[in-house]
Symmetry: C2
Subunit: 103 residues, 2 copies
DNA sequence: TCGATTGTTCGATATATTTAGAACAATGGA
DNA sequence: TCCATTGTTCTAAATATATCGAACAATCGA
């Protein structure tokens, strides 16, 4: 698999981050990652096609919300907690605290 | 002018709020409202056509971010600060604190 | 080596969003 | 009343986004 691009902390853009989180599936992924740590792609929304999920993970990665790391045939995802908090203090926590329900 | 719909506080949805704020023009409007209080539509982005701005104000209003009130021929906009903070504690402040620059 | 597993990429389609001109509506002042 | 001001609505066009099947790539175990 190819090299995965991750934007550096100082390049994260607020509008991109907000856009990435404005999709219910992606918000759900982020919530799950925040509570369960590092998880492979396959553990999310198993009803949705893999190509759809792959797209959402890419959006999250390019917006700087998650870090992806290949390990074997799996791709592990983790939240870029500290980068986000350094760049946008309190933002992620406020979003995770919100009671919007994770469908 | 017609009656303006404002969603009640408890109906505000996180994904809608995040989407509304993920547009640079709308984020700019919200920032300006937060620092200057109540302002008529005409005071923002005077270079953009009125219809475009009208659209953005509508998106913000329907997402619950702003309250609009007609007064004379003007339409005054204000941030729904307390509603937002009640529904999504800390979210708006975190977004306003972020140093993304208001173009 | 073969096949199963996991995920990506490509291409197509459907849907949503943004932008903006033109016509319209409401208000207020001369 | 007439007109300027302010903003909305309608409509169209451009652009972006979401979804998903099919083909592909990489890894691992048998």
């Amino acid at each position: 698999m190819r090299e995965l691009h991750h934007p550096p902390r100082e390049c994260l853009e607020l509008t991109q981050v907000l856009h990435a989180l404005s999709d219910p599936i992606r918000l759900c992924i982020v919530r799950q990652l925040s509570s369960e740590g590092s998880l492979p792609c396959g553990t999310f929304c198993e009803s949705a096609p893999k190509s759809t999920m792959s797209h959402h993970f890419k959006v999250l990665r390019l917006a700087g919300l998650i870090r992806q790391r290949n390990e074997g045939t799996s791709c592990y995802n983790s939240l870029r907690n500290s980068d986000l908090d350094a760049r946008f203090p309190g933002l992620l926590n406020a979003i995770l605290r919100a009671d919007d329900g994770c469908e």
